[in-house]
């Protein structure tokens, strides 16, 4: 049970109050970017490359321009005149806005058609003739460094191969020596497949440049409006578009999941065309364009090794990664972290030797990768550690639950220093796994499994006990393009005691309008229903780095609490003045200050706020507002214990999830209903790559499943009825003890499912299966081990 400090009327932390934003969404009154309509607006469509790697010989727009209503066709050569044909990526690489001579992946933008309607823009797109000279693409990242591989980025000075960067963490020498001396060493090769966020709303914008005012308003599907404003100013400053002349509005967003962090070429072209024509330009991509060209996620090839004792003590881990970034490194990571927070991959276990390294290469695939519902490459890391832990358990003949219990970092050992340099803030891993095991009756399941196995039936039980790392991040290490990764809140309380609070983050369905109000309600005792939340407009909101990587609660949520505490201090002074007592004699209970020992003498927060405007103490600033920029002292480390039970048809290999229990620990909970909703959604997005989703390319660079017809987003039928629960271990350094939850389930679910499926067939000699594990893949593996003739 979650204990609440405030009444249901106030609706502070711990209450499952219903969401404030829902009224507009359920009545069709949301305002998404494609709903924005401006007078004189033109539409943009994009011509895309059918080839993965080709020289552009010629672009002939004449037929397109003959169509009535087609206003312009823009090519890379046009943008080149303004030096806008290339743009920087967040990882200091470069990406084409439109190519001048070479296309680097199938579906890459080649030209843009501007017309007076959506349909005419599409007609124009069909009429543009592009002549290509196809070249043989580089699709296999393992071949990227071969001597005969084509040099993909000759545009980069001094580049002589397709290697992007090398990264390391941990202590190589120490780890190698532990491995050498260890009784048991296990190793698996695994691929975390290239996948796509596939938010149901695609990306798009309306760029509206006012020539008279020299002012750009950019309505845009972005998770980080302020950062975008700064980026536009940095890229377009040389043509006079300086930061005060730019307003980015991120309206309602139909799901983001990291896919709406990057700046895509379409946005830049729309801005450039609006700048040149003075007309508002709307660009809304199709689903197929979205799947085929927008940033992918994952695509890590990992060699994972674990060393330990025969008794099952984990001693060391060693991970080697090959990262396929496509033709440019367009990852959305903090600047200093090319592999994101992959080094969290040492997991929830107590050992002190680990070494990780990664190399990134260019291929002829779309650029990325984004942190898809994941705090920067944590999903990849967690899959590696949780899979290899199971292999190790099997090798030493210990039940995977027992082995985990035996190796967990103990509750009393926090804060705990990880061998790759993180300080885990808090956790109670044993309690989480105990609760999960009790819920499913683990030991009875193992008995059932043994019986089923004796009858030749496949049943598997999979566990994943992961540690996440979220809330980026402390300014000493974390920045994006140099801007530190703090976040902000500004609270204004009106004379009648109602408030508006604004944030630098941007909800894409997470329910910020409700949860932020609850945080302010918790701290100030003003009912949440009287606190209006606003985000996404750079003209009004304080500067912030946006919403992704489960950072909103850890950063902006903390900022809200800190700003509210500033106000409470002021409230105390006013209360003391109003009641003519000393501040020391006052005590707070949610909603009012009262005199110690005389609770009938009190002032409500509403009375105090009113006085701040009508009768404030002389010498004190009038009004009742506060702003806070919160720079977290550390990251937060949510954790979880997930158990998945599968039944597999021994003839068709059809895989059925019988039960899935997820116990999460995200510290103190702001709204249990919303946290649970986040977990349900994240679990389904974890199920997706575990069993269904992967972007597949053939050798010629064609994407084989670039539409929603064949890219298998789970429906309600594939998704099981999720069972969720929690343990609560507050973060000791966070003002409200919260840790962030949005991503834990996406991170924790895939290995639980993979472990369950492997567990069902491990007795036949299968130790690993690559996700997504489809019936056909399983059939092939079973054939390899001789189960099928």
């Amino acid at each position: 049970m979650i204990k609440c400090k405030t009444s249901r009327e106030i609706g502070g932390m711990g209450h499952s109050i219903k969401r404030k934003e829902d009224d507009r969404f359920i009545q069709g009154k949301g305002n998404y970017v494609d709903d924005v309509k401006l007078p004189g607006m033109l539409y943009m469509d994009i011509v895309r490359s059918p080839y993965a790697y080709a020289k552009i010989k010629n672009i002939d727009a004449s037929k397109a321009l003959e169509i009535e209503g087609v206003v312009a066709v823009v090519t890379g050569k046009d943008l080149e005149q303004y030096n806008l044909h290339w743009m920087p990526t967040l990882m200091s690489d470069t990406q084409m806005v439109l190519p001048t001579d070479t296309v680097m992946y199938q579906a890459q933008e080649v030209a843009a058609v501007i017309a007076t309607s959506r349909y005419l823009a599409r007609d124009g797109k069909e009429a543009v003739r592009v002549e290509y000279e196809p070249m043989s693409p580089l699709m296999d990242p393992y071949k990227a460094l071969d001597d005969d591989a084509p040099l993909l980025r000759p545009d980069k000075e001094g580049k002589t191969d397709n290697h992007i960067w090398h990264w390391e963490a941990g202590d190589k020498e120490k780890t190698d020596s532990v491995f050498e001396a260890a009784d048991v060493v296990v190793k698996e090769q695994m691929h975390i497949p290239r996948i796509h966020v596939a938010s149901i709303e695609t990306c798009g914008c309306v760029a509206s440049y006012d020539k008279v005012e020299n002012h750009l308003t950019m309505y845009m599907t972005t998770q980080a409006p302020h950062a975008i404003r700064t980026v536009i100013a940095l890229v377009a400053g040389h043509v006079g578009l300086t930061e005060e002349k730019i307003r980015v509005i991120s309206p309602d967003i139909g799901g983001g999941f990291g896919g709406k962090v990057p700046v895509y070429p379409g946005y830049v072209i729309a801005i450039a065309v609006s700048f040149l024509t003075g007309a508002p330009i709307k660009w809304i991509e199709d689903r197929s364009e979205n799947l085929q060209a927008d940033s992918f996620a994952r695509d890590y090839h990992i060699t994972a090794e674990m060393a330990g004792t025969k008794e099952g003590k984990i001693l060391a881990t060693r991970f080697k990664v090959l990262a396929d970034h496509g033709y440019t490194d367009a990852s959305a990571n903090p600047s200093k972290f090319p592999t994101g927070l992959f080094s969290i991959g040492t997991g929830s276990y107590d050992y002190n030797a680990s070494f990780m390294e990664a190399d990134a290469v260019y291929t002829n695939k779309p650029p990325g990768g984004v942190a898809y519902r994941c705090s920067f490459r944590v999903t990849e890391a967690v899959h590696a550690i949780e899979r290899i832990t199971d292999t190790f358990a099997r090798e030493v003949g210990i039940d995977p639950a027992d082995l985990r219990m035996q190796n967990f970092i103990k509750k009393e050992d926090f804060p705990w220093q990880s061998p790759t340099g993180w300080e885990y803030d808090s956790g109670d891993y044993h309690a989480g796994l105990e609760l999960a095991m009790k819920t499913v009756d683990y030991h009875a399941l193992r008995k059932e499994q043994a019986e089923k196995r004796a009858q030749g039936k496949f049943m598997g039980i999979g566990i994943s006990t992961f540690t996440e790392i979220v809330g980026a991040g402390p300014s000493k290490d974390f920045d994006i393009l140099g801007i530190k990764m703090f976040d902000s809140a500004e609270i204004r309380v009106h004379p009648t005691g109602k408030a508006i609070a604004r944030f630098g983050t941007k909800s894409q369905g997470q329910g910020h309008e409700t949860t932020y109000a609850q945080i302010v309600a918790e701290e100030l005792g003003i009912p949440a229903e009287h606190i209006q939340i606003e985000e996404g407009d750079t003209d009004t909101a304080p500067y912030g780095l946006g919403t992704y990587a489960s950072r909103s609660t850890p950063t902006a949520g903390a900022a809200a609490a800190m700003a509210a505490r500033k106000l409470r201090k002021k409230a105390k002074k006013i209360a003391a003045y109003l009641m003519e007592v000393s501040e020391d004699d006052l005590e707070w209970e949610p909603g009012k200050f009262f005199v110690k020992g005389a609770p009938e003498k009190s002032k409500t927060i509403q009375e105090i706020v009113f006085a701040a405007y009508t009768n404030h103490p002389q010498g004190m600033e009038a009004g009742f507002e506060a702003t806070h920029y919160y720079d977290p002292p550390n990251l937060t480390f949510p954790s979880g214990a997930y158990i998945c039970i599968v039944d597999i048809d021994e003839e068709t290999c059809d895989i059925k999830i019988r039960r899935f229990v997820a116990i999460d620990d995200c510290g103190n909970i702001i709204n249990p209903m919303i946290v649970q909703g986040q977990v349900h959604g994240g679990l389904t997005q974890g199920l997706a790559p575990a069993m269904y989703e992967e972007l597949i390319y053939d050798e010629s660079g064609n994407i084989l499943n670039g539409t929603l017809m064949d890219y298998l987003v789970p429906t309600a039928v594939e998704s099981p009825s999720w069972e969720t629960g929690h343990t609560v271990t507050p973060s000791p350094h966070h003002p409200i003890g919260a840790k962030g939850v949005g991503e834990s389930p996406t991170v924790g679910a895939p290995p639980a499912i993979a472990n369950a499926i492997v567990d069902a067939v491990a007795h036949l000699g299968i130790s690993h299966l690559e996700i997504p594990i489809t019936p056909f893949k399983l059939f092939k593996e079973l054939k390899k081990v001789g189960y099928f003739k």
Binding site: Q27, P672, S721
Partner: protein
């Protein structure tokens, strides 16, 4: 090529001149500015564009506007009545059946037909019933709950609890 058509949208008849190739979803969103109906794909896969045509749910991205000539269209904007929001809308709000809200209008229109045909569906029937509508945010658990709530309310039965349930 243009053609004049008359469609009744949320009870109001409208006569419009439309291009033959115009999709119904664009007629709804652009010609009559009802933007509650969304577009999530180009392959008839997601269901974000679902509306009712003569009471039957249909993906309006897969229907030409001219095919709707003479028909009654209901969109999400037509769900609520003077008495207030529809039990399905209430079910979604009370049970946290939506996050970003992008799939929600289409999902609710699909459910409207589902509950009319089958007023008391089992969980399995609900899941199959909405399997032509994708939601990327909710994981569907709470959409199922929302439908069960709406079903109870529409049948005049006692409403199920809307408190989240946790294992403990």
């Amino acid at each position: 090529m243009k053609k004049e058509i008359t469609v009744t949208i949320n009870g109001t008849p409208q006569t419009l001149e439309v291009e033959n190739r115009l999709l119904l979803v664009h007629l709804i969103r652009e010609n009559v500015s009802l933007t509650g109906t969304h577009i999530g794909c180009d392959t008839s896969s997601c269901g974000a564009c679902t509306v009712l045509i003569d009471g039957k749910s249909a993906k309006s991205c897969t229907v030409l506007a001219v095919q709707a000539d003479g028909k009654e269209i209901t969109t999400v904007e037509g769900l609520a009545t003077a008495e207030g929001i529809h039990p399905i809308q209430e079910g979604f709000k009370e049970n946290h059946g939506l996050h970003c809200g992008f799939c929600t209008p289409g999902m609710m229109m699909r459910i409207k037909e589902l509950l009319e045909k089958n007023p008391n569906p089992t969980e399995e029937e609900i899941r199959w019933g909405i399997s032509g509508n994708l939601c990327r945010c909710t994981g569907y658990n709470n959409i199922v709950k929302a439908v069960q709530y709406a079903s109870a309310k529409m049948r005049g039965e006692e409403l199920p609890s809307t408190e989240p349930e946790f294992v403990s």
